[in-house]
């Protein structure tokens, strides 16, 4: 394909090659465990970015589909035996596809609203799905939760999950990369900048938004599926958790939403710290306070994210170096 540059190939291949080698080099269980969660959040943030970062529609409801993916895995286990070991992972694409398709009518309703109302409506979606998980007892067993049979991976229990999360993250990055460079990506960015104008120019705005939404939701559901299989037990509070949602959004903001690598970088910075805080302060609610503090700092000090801020810095350096008249190339928009 004509878009593939040697530098990009090297970057993508290098990063994912290193990540794939990691659990074979580092075998300590708790470190690989943190790795699983880091990749999980990186995947969630990247999937969120695919819809919200590119279209500018802030969705606060993706975690609902994370939960649905987890429940889909758990319930499938309960009713049909899909084998143990690695075999459940092969069912994930089906779960992703199914949840993505089912979510389209939901998105069609939610996308009748815009801007802030859309954010609120998607946040409501989160609460709706959580409530359904509590109430539809015949399917989800309510607050008792769904139990998943424990698989029998002999040694290095976490490694298969790590690799599964990594595959979904790689898939998410590939889709993001492809979409960004395709006509669809141009349409999405057009919607973000001025939806009315894009529509006036003949962009099928609803269609474009729905495709991006379905892709994002499908990926989110697959990640949820792996998470459900990893934790063995799926409860409404933990599967559909506003904290997971806000975490993914925070990471996308920290890294830089609308960029390819930003959400992943945000996750790699924050998740290890988050997991450490969770194990040290989890019992007392200090964990929440720390979370809130980091969040506020990121939003106030770095509202555009790491990647755009760095790119700005680099381009300004280059600009100076070429000895042109000192005109600021871009307007500084970081809140003071």
């Amino acid at each position: 394909m004509r878009w593939i540059t040697p530098g990009g190939l090297l970057r993508g291949g290098g990063v994912f090659g290193l990540l794939a080698a990691f659990p074979f080099v580092e075998r300590t269980d708790w470190i690989v465990n943190i790795g699983v969660f880091t990749l999980m959040y990186a995947g969630l943030a990247t999937a969120w970015n695919l819809f919200s970062g590119y279209t500018g529609y802030i969705s606060l409801g993706q975690a609902a589909f994370f939960g649905i993916g987890a429940y889909a895995t758990g319930i499938t286990f309960e009713h049909i035996s899909i084998g143990s070991g690695y075999r459940p992972f092969y069912a994930l694409p089906l779960i992703g596809l199914a949840v993505g398709l089912v979510s389209v009518p939901v998105a069609w309703v939610a996308l009748r609203t815009r801007a802030m109302t859309f954010a609120i409506v998607t946040l409501m979606l989160l609460f709706i799905v959580q409530q359904l998980a509590f109430n539809l007892r015949s399917i989800t067993h309510g607050s008792q939760g769904v139990a998943v049979p424990q698989p029998t991976f002999a040694s290095n229990f976490d490694r298969p999950y790590y690799l599964a999360m990594l595959s979904v993250l790689a898939l998410a990055m590939l889709i993001c990369w492809y979409v960004r460079r395709s006509k669809l990506g141009l349409m999405l960015l057009g919607i973000r900048d001025d939806e009315e104008k894009a529509r006036g120019l003949g962009v099928r705005v609803t269609g474009a938004k729905l495709i991006a939404w379905a892709l994002s939701v499908g990926l989110t559901a697959m990640i949820g599926g792996i998470w459900g299989y990893y934790l063995f037990s799926i409860y409404p509070e933990s599967a559909v958790d506003p904290l997971v949602m806000i975490g993914a959004v925070l990471m996308a903001f920290l890294g830089g939403k609308g960029t390819l690598w930003g959400p992943m970088i945000g996750a790699f910075v924050l998740v290890p710290a988050q997991q450490w805080a969770l194990t040290s302060y989890g019992a007392t609610r200090l964990y929440l306070i720390a979370y809130a503090g980091v969040f506020v700092l990121v939003l106030l000090l770095l509202p555009r994210g790491i990647v755009p801020s760095l790119a700005d810095l680099v381009s300004r350096r280059r600009f100076r170096a070429t000895d042109r008249p000192d005109v600021r190339p871009t307007v500084e928009r970081v809140a003071s």
Binding site: G56, I58, L60, V109, A110, R112, T113, R114, A115, M116, T117, A119, I120, V121, L123, M124, F127, I128, Q131, L132, N135, I191, R192, D194, E195, E196, P242, L243, I246, V249, L250, F253, T284, R285, L286, Y287, L288, I289, A290, Y291, A292, G293, F295, V296, L299, L300, P303, R304, R333, V334, A335, S336
Partner: protein, 291 residues
Amino acid sequence: MHLVVQACILGVLTGGVYALMASGLTLVFGVMRVINVAQGALVILSAYLSWALFTHFQVDPFLSVLIVAPLIFALGVGVQLVFIRSLRSEQAEELSLLITWALALGIEGVLGAVYETTYRATNTSYANSAWTIFGYQVSVVRAYAFGLCVAVLVLLYLLLARTRFGRSVRATVQNPSSALLLGVNADRVRALAFGIGVSTAAAAGAVYGVLYPFNPGSHYDLISRLLSIVVLGGLGSVAGAVAAALMMGVVEAVVAVEISPVWSSFSYFVVLVAILLLRPQGFFGARERTL
């Protein structure tokens, strides 16, 4: 039939309390395009303050409003000055949504650290008494709470409709740049409006603890109700929020009686989806353009 009428009475009384919380939320949105996700957490914070005043100093929850509301007002003005005003980028709206969410988490964390997750309730001596009117039971605390909330709503209305400050608030809602040109001090209006918006949460929160048991995590349940109410009424419309709150109160109570209490809070979401299909801008809202 008797049960349905009984449920309607209960629904209107409950709806009045939600109307007060939601009117502050929607007012803040109207003035500064900020959705305060921490509104629910501030209600719970006020409920704890009022509970603490009642258990330690025997202050009646209905009187503690006079102490709690000014405190929360000051907190709100502070939050606006420190966190929300400094968001000057073009994404200020979405950022403010996330920053108030962070604030909600912070409040939940502090309350959790101080009070653990045990459920509390403010049990006044008259908590369980009720009047019987034409054969219908009317709970005394709910009637008082309703009365208090209506009184605060009337005060809010007078403030917005009759005072110079209210005029500048309404001017800022209708057209911020013209208001600025006409000499409205926008920064001051925003800070005060945010304070007023959150102190409605405080007033309702002080009595919330008398009506329902609560713990630090209760704010998610509250904010999900409040957000559906303001979307239903049309973002920015105080009258819409009051109408929507009363309607949802009644619908919830009737569903609890006729179908099942388990599904009663779900009725919020069903009505919300129906409204989005028919009239995405809510009862009284204007259509929004993209970001």
